[in-house]
């Protein structure tokens, strides 16, 4: 498919990990679908930024490490990994505390980015 025909697809992650499975299953979908040759990105905003927190240790709960799945995003050929600045600030998280170095964007720029997509996937 020619680049001009590629669809821009954005996964929007607004939920915290562990309390629900939404975040994890969205990541599973992204990793399966990333190979479809489209222009795929992922955005973390609101409680979704908690998915990026380093040092997640869910062992005592017997749950899979969601932070490790997030880190694996860097292995995929993604158009971009975006993190909303205001969401980080409201939650007292700093970029240095995150499992990966996404592109931190102010809300106004993330809003623009979301509006430019062909497809927005929410979970």
């Amino acid at each position: 498919m020619a680049a001009a025909n590629k669809k821009r697809i954005l996964y929007v992650q607004r939920r915290a990990p562990y309390g629900t499975l939404y975040a994890q299953e969205a990541l599973e979908m992204l990793s399966m679908g990333a190979a479809f040759g489209q222009r795929v990105g992922i955005a973390f905003l609101d409680d979704g930024v908690f998915q990026l927190k380093a040092e997640q240790t869910p062992g005592a709960l017997g749950m899979k490490n969601s932070g490790r799945m997030v880190r694996a995003l860097e292995l995929h050929d993604l158009e971009g990994i975006y993190v909303e600045q205001e969401s980080l600030v409201e939650r007292n998280l700093e970029p240095g505390q995150l499992v990966l170095a996404g592109k931190v964007l102010p809300r106004v720029e993330l809003s623009q980015l979301m509006a430019e997509q062909d497809l927005v996937l929410s979970f």
Partner: protein, 130 residues
């Protein structure tokens, strides 16, 4: 115009499955197409054939199946989400050594790739969830 729908919640507990069905029915009535409805997360529970619903209440899985029968809508249950939650077709049931299966007629088990494919091919993809 060709629509694809993603349903993220099971029947009854959340209104998402109702809203998606009403949207699909209206779109079809207006002459649009629904190429596929993909069921993910708890949405896979829409595909059970074991539901017992009082006569005076809507039967959500059967309502979906009718849409498939009358309009050729492709109803796809995500295999990964379904296995975890105990929704299996006969082949999956056998493959995993289960003594039963519960997928309703009109639905089929498919992979996540089929959602992505829908998203690429359809003119619009709408997500219904909680």
């Amino acid at each position: 115009m060709k629509f694809a729908l993603l349903v993220n919640e099971g029947p009854y507990q959340h209104q998402a499955a109702d809203s998606a069905w009403h949207f699909a029915r209206s779109a079809l009535a207006k002459g649009h197409g629904i190429s596929r409805v993909f069921f993910y997360h708890d949405g896979v529970y829409n595909g059970t054939r074991l539901g017992v619903v009082p006569q005076d209440e809507r039967h959500i899985p059967e309502r979906w199946a009718l849409l498939a029968k009358e309009h050729g809508v492709d109803l796809v249950i995500c295999v990964a989400a379904a296995q975890r939650r105990g929704i299996l077709d006969a082949a999956e049931g056998r493959r995993h050594g289960k003594d039963a299966d519960n997928l309703a007629e009109g639905f089929r088990i498919g992979g996540l790739g089929q959602l992505i494919e829908s998203g690429i091919e359809a003119d619009r993809l709408l997500v219904f969830g909680d």
